[in-house]
Amino acid sequence: MYKWFHQLGSPPTFYRWSGRWLPWLSLICFVLFVIGLYGGLVYAPADYQQSDSFRIMYVHVPAAWMSMFVYMVMAISGAIAIIWHMKLAEIVMLSSAPIGASFTFLALVTGSIWGKPMWGTWWEWGDARLVSELILLFLYIGVIGLYSAIDDKRKAAQSVAILSLVGIINIPIIHYSVIWLNTLHQGPTVTKFDNPSIDTRMLIPLLIMAVAFKLFYGIVLLLRSRNEVLWRERRSQWVKDTLGDKTDG
């Protein structure tokens, strides 16, 4: 296990390994998106209160889950980068930030579009769930900004790792805000100890979409990391060999 972890941490192995997996991941991800969207938009029955409007949750909920999941990945690889000074962990951390920011932005926008017809407002400043999710977006933007503000990139990565570890505190606040505080946003439907309070025919497409979103993140992360690996190692022999094979024939 440790050996495998070590090998994967070496840039050429990572580059070869990820190149083999990418087409398969993309295919599975695409199929899941098609099934999930069909399930969410056609197969799932309309809700008894919100009728067809609830279907925006098939984008909103996976995006919101991913906004927190990607943050955890970013913070954990940040910790690995601090402790073991592992290059690949730095790359995963840095490549995750813009993806996480996009998921957060998507969750905020779809939530707003959902909120206007259902709640009667686009945005509510007093709602802890909404505001903590906005803070998450600012944390991601802070990570991206801090990295580009420091010239020494190894040092920049260390600083970013500390920032993302500090920001972890926001994750439980986002999750528990709707349980501990009274908010406009409703409580959790799926992620609670009780049975999910959602009809099975509505739940299955949601879970498929959640897996599709995870795979999508994995794919974009691999693509970004591969680019970053090539750029950082651009002067090394293995990059010349790998790219040379393709360009020179």
Binding site: Y48, I82, W119, E124, W180, N182, Q186, G187, I198, R201
Partner: protein, 151 residues
């Protein structure tokens, strides 16, 4: 483990733990201010600010909605099944507004203890089900399940 790495591991753990402790203190100190609304019981206990705007939240009591014939003005009771407050509102209600569903009203209490709202938001619960299921649940007469766990 290499001693330098072990030291950094300890530092990272220490940092995360202290952030969570600090965050916990801040959260519990500001908890009251992070609440979006007061329930009718809290208003009755005098926790809500007097003479200024605040929000109340609760269920729209069944059978309490009275619509005016001349204007869009509407009057309804907001309840947390303990205390009840009467709310008047002179604008268009959100689509999801209905009896037995949660709402948040923004406005002021007048001298008669009536809440004059200038904005009403509908709060929906975390239950999703098709209409047939909701209807059959209603037939089995389990209103608690229909209305969700908390207002």
């Amino acid at each position: 483990m290499h001693p330098a790495r072990a030291r950094r591991l300890k530092l990272v753990v220490l940092m995360v733990v202290s952030i969570f402790i600090a965050g916990g203190f801040v959260f519990f100190a500001f908890q009251e201010n992070l609440m979006l609304y007061f329930t009718p019981s809290e208003v009755a206990e005098g926790k809500a600010p007097t003479g200024q705007r605040f929000n109340i939240g609760g269920m729209v009591a069944a059978g309490s909605v009275v619509k005016s014939n001349e204007s869009v003005e509407v009057r309804f009771d907001v309840t947390d099944y303990g205390k009840t407050i009467t709310v008047t509102y002179g604008d268009i209600l959100p689509d999801l507004f209905r009896e037995g569903q949660a709402v948040i009203a923004k406005g002021k209490l007048n001298d008669q203890g009536i809440f004059i709202a200038d904005e009403v938001l509908a709060k929906h619960d975390e239950n999703y089900m098709p209409k047939e299921v909701a209807d059959s649940l209603k037939k089995k007469s389990s209103p608690q399940q229909m209305e969700g766990s908390k207002p």
